[in-house]
């Protein structure tokens, strides 16, 4: 485990970094800013980051949190990395659909499928 901060649990599997939330609600702007700062710092320390953010256990999400996810996504892209989201509760997934951010982010049902998407892309780039 790289870090076990108050609101984020961060683990590494090879070159993939997995971020999980330790709180059910991602609402409050101060907490969201703190989470955003941690994620941005994480990405900046990685070379071509492969980042998975799992929303398992998260049952509420605000528009401010969506803004932070976009900031993280842009940061990952600027570092030639890749971002995957997974384990999103159906009600929260509806938030992504309404805002059309389901088209901006690559979203997978499970961590396993999110990891496999990196591998599949890696194989494609070799062939």
């Amino acid at each position: 485990m790289l870090q076990d901060a108050a609101r984020l649990k961060i683990t590494r599997d090879g070159e993939i970094v997995l971020v999980e939330f330790t709180h059910r609600k991602i609402l409050d702007e101060a907490n969201i800013a703190e989470i955003g700062d941690q994620l941005v710092a994480l990405v900046e320390n990685e070379h071509r980051p492969k980042l998975i953010i799992s929303f398992a256990g998260v049952d509420h999400l605000s528009s401010a949190a969506l803004g932070t996810l976009i900031t993280v996504s842009n940061k990952v892209r600027n570092h030639d990395g890749q971002l995957r989201l997974c384990n999103i509760h159906p009600q929260i997934f509806e938030v992504f659909v309404i805002t059309k951010l389901n088209k901006l982010f690559r979203i997978y049902p499970t961590i396993k499928e999110a990891k496999e998407s990196f591998e599949a892309q890696g194989k494609q780039s070799v062939t």
């Binding site: 609402l27 702007e29 509420h60 605000s62 528009s63 976009i70 842009n74 805002t99 088209k103 901006l104």
Partner: protein, 169 residues
């Protein structure tokens, strides 16, 4: 200092919100302009909704909409000034919940906001709160000045029963 004033008043029919609501009491809260205080507002209102068996989806929707309205009031209405307050007025009946969120700002014109789902705005990091309120509530009405918004959510559990009784007698 933590301060939340709670008053209950007899509803003045037609003064706020849709005219079909009848017997509920309007309750008022005055909350310091601090984004962290939204949780107690949500707990107060949602506990009333739970008494009337609002569905989980209704509760999710109300929590989301109240959070967005309160965040807008604190950030854009009161400009983060913790000396200012957000005034909440709510009424919960078996059929519906109405929540009015008012700030001390000059207001704004919601029609002037860009569509956050448009291609040119899709990567903006803000501007989705009102879209979500409108998507998850049955009705969202801004006051003419724009410094107050009324959120209305019908109780889906009673609506389903009503529809069932109409269908089957």
């Amino acid at each position: 200092m933590r301060r939340m004033r709670l008053e209950k008043t007899t509803a003045t029919r037609g003064s706020v919100g849709p005219s079909s609501a009848t017997h509920g009491l309007w309750c008022r809260l005055e909350i310091p302009s601090d984004p962290k205080r939204v949780e107690e507002v949500e707990e107060t209102i949602l506990s009333q909704c739970q008494r009337f068996s609002f569905t989980d989806r209704d509760l999710f929707a109300l929590k989301l909409a109240i959070d967005e309205a309160f965040a807008n009031a604190v950030k854009h209405g009161n400009h983060g000034d913790c000396e200012k307050h957000v005034r909440i007025k709510y009424r919960v009946t078996p059929r519906r919940a109405d929540v009015v969120v008012e700030d001390e700002g000059p207001g704004f014109n919601p029609a002037s906001l860009p569509d956050p789902t448009a291609d040119q705005h899709i990567e903006c990091t803000h501007g989705r709160g009102i879209l979500l309120m409108r998507a998850f509530m049955n009705n969202v009405v801004f006051s003419p000045s724009g410094n107050s918004v009324t959120l209305t959510k019908f109780n889906d559990s009673t609506r389903n029963k009503t529809e069932h009784s109409i269908a089957f007698g």
